[in-house]
Subunit: 278 residues, 2 copies
C-alpha cells in the first residue's frame, strides 16, 4: 500500500491561529494538519459541528492528512470523529489517534503505525562452556520445561543491545557485556496482526552469581552447552537449532555478526545506532 | 516494564458458553479472556452493565487480562469501556482494542503492541559502478534535491527482502535479486512515540530500463557511484556515509552481511525467516 511507504518526520509546530469556528491545529511537514487535542469542545454536538467546518476549511486550502488525538478522558468524542469519516490510526494506553485523508486523490498516503514488536534472545556463555539458561513461569505449553536463553521484549525507545543486557540482569542477576547481534528472526501474525523481529544477541558474562526474578522466572542456572543442546526441543526445532549453532560459531570465533555503533544522523537530527559487521 | 516482556502467542479459541448476563468470550493461552466483539450489546447502558458483571465473574475465576476489540461501527461503546476501567491497547483502521488487568497484583503483564515501523533502503549497483537513485516528490526540506537510494516501509506481514525488491520495482521499474541485509539502523521517536528499524539491503539489478512511479518519485536514474558520493548530503551525514561505505565494501566483496533463510519454527509453528551471515 502507498500509505505505508512514507516516513512521518518530526513535526514542526506552527500554530494556525484561525478564525473562530475552526479547530486549533498545527502544520506537519507533509502539508497535513495536527488538531490540538487540548482545544476540543467537550460537547459531542459542538465537536461534530466544528470538526465538519474545520475539515471543509482545510480541504479548501489543499491540505492532505488530518491527525486527531483523543485522550481517554475525551473518549465520548471518538464515535463522533468516526461518524465524520475519521479512521483509527493507532492507540496508546491513554489515547487514540485517528486520521482523515482530505484529497480526492486516493489512496491515503499517511504512514501507518508500529507494525512490529521487537524481542531479544540473549546467549550468554562462559569460559567453561556453560550457557546461562532460564525456565519461564508462564511459558505456553509447547516450551514448558525447556531450559532456554533469557528472552524478552525491548522497552519503549530502548536500544536493542541495552534491552538484552537488562533482560539478562533482571531475569538472572548476571551482569553482561554486549558483543554482537548474530542473527535475527522475522515472523508474522505473532501477536494479533503484528509481526515480530527477534534479535539474537551474544553477551559476555561479567559475573557468575545467579539471582532469580521470581515473578517471571521459575529457575535459572549455568548449564553445560552439551546438556543444553541435548534437550529434545533444540534437536527438533530447526529455527532454534540454527540460531544456537550460530551462537556457538560466534563463541568459537568462526562467525561475525553485527556490532552496535552509536552515531548522529543529520537526516533525522538525532543519535541512532547503526548495526553492522566490523 | 514487566508488561512488555511477555509474548502473546496464537490464541486457542475455546468458547465460554456462560450463563446469561456474561459476555461471550474465548480463553487465551495466558489465563486471559478475549471478549467476542460480535456479541456486544449496542445500547451503551446494557453494555456497561454486562461488562461490569463479566469483569466481576472473570475476576472471581482468577482470570488475568481481558481483551476487548470494538469495531468502528461500535465506536459509541468505547467511552463506556474506558469508564469501566479499560485502557487502550492498539488500533487498526477498522477497530480499537482495549485491555483490562484483573489481578490485584500489579503491574499489568499484558504484552504491548507494535512499537516499531520497519523501513528498508535498497542499494542497487550495476557492473558499471552505477547506483540506482531516486529523487522523492514529497521529501522533507532537509533532503530535497538529494539523489538517494530507493527507500520505503515494508507492507503488513511482508518479508524484509521482498519489501526491498517491491520498493525498487515500484519506484523505478527495475527488477532485482536480493543479496543481503548489510546493516540496520535503530532510531527512536521517529513517528509519534514509535521507533524505527531501517534495514539496508543490497540488491543485484536484473534489468536496466527505468520507469518512474510518478506518484512518489520525481525522478530516477543510474548515477556514477563517484557522483553519488560527491553529493554534499553524503559527505556531511555520518550515518548515511557509513551505510554507503558498507554497501561499497559489500559490492567489492570485502564485507559479509546477513542473508535471509526461510525456516519453520516448531515454537511458533509457522514459517519465519532467520537472517544471518552464511
Amino acid at each position: 500500500m502507498q500509505g505505508r511507504r512514507r516516513r512521518l518526520n518530526v513535526i514542526s509546530p506552527k500554530i494556525n491561529t484561525k478564525d473562530l469556528g475552526i479547530l486549533n491545529a498545527f502544520d506537519d511537514e507533509y502539508n497535513g494538519v495536527i488538531i490540538d487535542s487540548e482545544g476540543l469542545p467537550s460537547s459531542p454536538n459542538s465537536f461534530s459541528s466544528i470538526l465538519r467546518s474545520s475539515l471543509s476549511h482545510w480541504k479548501q486550502r489543499g491540505k492532505n492528512g488530518v491527525w486527531l488525538k483523543i485522550m481517554a478522558r475525551q473518549a465520548h468524542l471518538v464515535h463522533i470523529a468516526i461518524k465524520e469519516g475519521f479512521v483509527y490510526h493507532h492507540a496508546e494506553t491513554g489515547y487514540v489517534v485517528l486520521t482523515f485523508w482530505l484529497p480526492d486523490e486516493q489512496p491515503c498516503m499517511l504512514p501507518s503505525t508500529g507494525s512490529h514488536q521487537i524481542g531479544i534472545g540473549a546467549f550468554v556463555i562462559n569460559e567453561n562452556k556453560e550457557v546461562l539458561v532460564v525456565k519461564e513461569k508462564k511459558c505456553p505449553l509447547r516450551c514448558s520445561g525447556v531450559w532456554k536463553m533469557p528472552t524478552g521484549f525491548i522497552d519503549k525507545s530502548e536500544e536493542i543491545y541495552l534491552g538484552a543486557i537488562r533482560e539478562v540482569k533482571e531475569e538472572t542477576g548476571i551482569e553482561t557485556e554486549f558483543l554482537q547481534v548474530v542473527a535475527f528472526r522475522h515472523a508474522h501474525f505473532v501477536s494479533f496482526e503484528k509481526s515480530d523481529l527477534f534479535f539474537i544477541c551474544m553477551l559476555k558474562p561479567l559475573s557468575s552469581q545467579i539471582t532469580i526474578d521470581g515473578k517471571e522466572i521459575e529457575d535459572a542456572k549455568w548449564m553445560q552447552l552439551e546438556d543444553f543442546l541435548d534437550q529434545p526441543f533444540y534437536k527438533e526445532d530447526f529455527m532454534s537449532k540454527s540460531a544456537i549453532e550460530i551462537c556457538i560459531a560466534k563463541h568459537e570465533q568462526r562467525y561475525k555478526g553485527f556490532s552496535a555503533h552509536e552515531m548522529m544522523s543529520k537526516f533525522d537530527d538525532r543519535n541512532s545506532h547503526l548495526y553492522y559487521a566490523e
